[in-house]
């Protein structure tokens, strides 16, 4: 699968603190869960078991799609601390 390869090729300098926080309580009532299929880095996944959206900030590409897609204002969204996060080498 191309998709799995894609994510392995991105370089990061990960900060210990997440730069985006998801308010799971606000999330709960969401019916479209568009973050789970719109995020280009697959940071948001629906957990059947936990019945909630799981979020991993480490592989974030800092594009802002989730911030725009979320219509419940469930995200506390910042860029990573300076010098951290994704680092594009070429593209």
């Amino acid at each position: 699968m191309l998709t799995d390869e894609l994510f392995d090729l991105v370089s990061y300098r990960i900060h210990p603190d997440p730069h985006i926080r998801v308010n799971a309580e606000v999330c709960v009532g969401c019916t479209h869960r568009a973050c789970t299929f719109s995020c280009p880095a697959r940071c948001y996944t629906w957990s059947e078991e936990r019945e909630r959206v799981d979020f991993a900030y480490e592989t974030c590409l800092e594009c802002g799609t989730c911030l725009l897609i979320c219509d419940r204002e469930a995200l506390d969204w910042h860029y990573p601390v300076g010098g951290h996060g994704v680092r594009f080498r070429l593209t």
């Binding site: 191309l2 998709t3 802002g64 601390v81 594009f88 070429l90 593209t91």
Partner: protein, 461 residues
């Protein structure tokens, strides 16, 4: 590019991080910010250029080609001869993917080799040329030119927000330095989301209807393979845009040629992506599997993946451009668009940055950074090609919001062209009749007339 080299640059910039007193703070060392910083420095201002990435360009990616514009040559003599671009684009292909076929229009500028500095084989007419380039290399090099002209660059430094007093912007809040950097003038070139512009009340926060998501995969080949597969020689480059390849999501696909790599990706309108339910990387996967794309990618090695948002709302959704003590330029000012034929952003960024820097330097020299004085920036921008083009193409930019353009029409074109070329021993029909047949099942006469009317108003007159 090694990790070790990157780290040494971070260390060097961190050591130099004792910001004193500056006339201006420019936020974001992309093409707009660096252009603004250069113009300010040349206008006699002391400039601090802040960049949140560990080097200028670390956070930046784009479609893949910047259209030629004279602005950076006014800031760095011999700019286009020195800048680290990859190929001078002389060939533009527009492909419409419909059903089981695709139809392309190919534009190719006549090659001449009388411009050796720019590369043998590229056209001598720059206005017909664009340049493919890698943003992490280009932005870094461009920021170095600003440093050479006296700009203080501080990388790895995120602007947290604005310093505001008495209704005027008077600096920025940062982390890692002294918490605040005071300056009479701030130029926000902080990208598409522009939190600084929002904080200043220049816009009410970006909306899904005005933004697109670009995702891009980079594939390595050899220089000869790129030349062979696109019919290029020397440092000539090609771009190829695709319509009808995004499973009904409003957007398109692209291939850009770099020296020995291809940038391949899709751009998707956010509202349509949200409604469509198909992940962007799945649409990318489908795109690279299309036969015209798979053909040029055979044997290529995947090397990097990136994603970014870009403004596509045109003048209708542009923020206000200035307030007391603050100017915005580049993506932060919504200066990026496609009309379906061209995709422009970096040229608008560099030109708006240049104009912002000049207006800013004059305002500082006059000791007046009031809202009314700084509104001259908007006036200058309206006189330049930047806002004039956005005005000229406002209906075309609006036309890009039409779902039928991305789903129905590519299928109609495909069906029509298949009939034109079909030969099976039956009598052929003329185009209009074939067209009527292809269109009949796809859309109503009313829809067709309405779209034709819109297209004529958008593109012809």
């Amino acid at each position: 590019m090694s990790a070790a080299k990157d780290d040494s640059v971070v260390a060097a910039s961190a050591q130099a991080s004792t910001p004193g007193s500056f006339d201006t703070v420019v936020v974001g060392a992309g093409p707009a910010g660096t252009s603004a910083a250069l113009a300010l420095a040349q206008g006699g201002a002391s400039v601090l250029l802040l960049e949140r990435g560990e080097y200028a360009g670390a956070k930046n990616m784009f479609g893949g080609m910047t259209a030629y514009c004279p602005a950076p040559e006014q800031l760095v003599p011999g700019f286009w001869e020195q800048a680290p671009w990859e190929r001078a684009v002389t060939k533009r292909i527009l492909s419409i993917v419909g059903g089981a076929s695709s139809t392309s229009i190919v534009f190719q500028a006549e090659s001449e080799s009388d411009r050796p500095a720019v590369g043998a084989g590229s056209t001598s007419d720059r206005s017909l040329t664009g340049f493919t380039l890698f943003r992490p290399r280009f932005d870094r090099w461009y920021a170095e030119q600003a440093v050479a002209q006296g700009v203080t660059l501080l990388t790895g430094c995120r602007a947290e927000g604005l310093l505001v007093s008495d209704g005027a912007v008077r600096g920025v809040r940062v982390t890692g330095v002294d918490d605040v950097v005071e300056a009479p003038l701030v130029i926000a070139c902080d990208g598409t989301l522009s939190f600084l512009g929002q904080e200043a009340g220049l816009h009410g926060g970006p909306k899904t209807e005005q933004l697109a998501l670009g995702v891009r995969a980079l594939y390595a080949l050899t220089e000869e393979e790129v030349n062979d597969r696109f019919g290029l020689k020397g440092r000539e480059g090609a771009t190829q845009e695709f319509l009808g390849c995004t499973a009904g999501v409003r957007g398109g696909g692209f291939i850009y040629t770099q020296t020995d790599t291809l940038s391949v990706g899709v751009v998707l309108h956010l509202d349509s992506l949200k409604a469509g339910g198909i992940p962007p990387y799945d649409l990318l996967e489908r795109f690279v599997a299309l036969s015209p794309v798979a053909q040029v990618l055979r044997g290529a090695r995947l090397v990097e993946y990136s994603a970014h948002l870009l403004p596509e709302g045109g003048q209708k959704t542009m923020p206000r451009l200035s307030t007391a003590g603050l100017l915005v330029a580049g993506d932060a000012a919504g200066l990026c668009y496609t009309n379906g034929l061209v995709q422009e952003g970096m040229n608008l960024a560099m030109t708006s940055g240049l104009i912002a820097g000049r207006v800013g330097a004059e305002a500082l020299a006059a000791g007046d950074v009031s809202a009314s004085r700084l509104s001259r920036y908007g006036e200058e921008l309206r006189k330049s090609f930047v806002l004039r083009d956005l005005k000229t193409w406002r209906r075309a930019i609006g036309f890009m919001q039409s779902d039928r353009l991305f789903s129905v029409y590519p299928r109609v074109v495909g069906a029509l062209m298949e009939e034109v070329y079909r030969s099976e021993g039956h009598p052929k029909s003329k185009i209009l009749r074939l067209g009527r047949r292809s269109i009949a099942s796809a859309l109503t006469v009313r829809q067709l007339i309405s779209d034709m009317y819109r297209a004529i108003r958008a593109y012809l007159c």
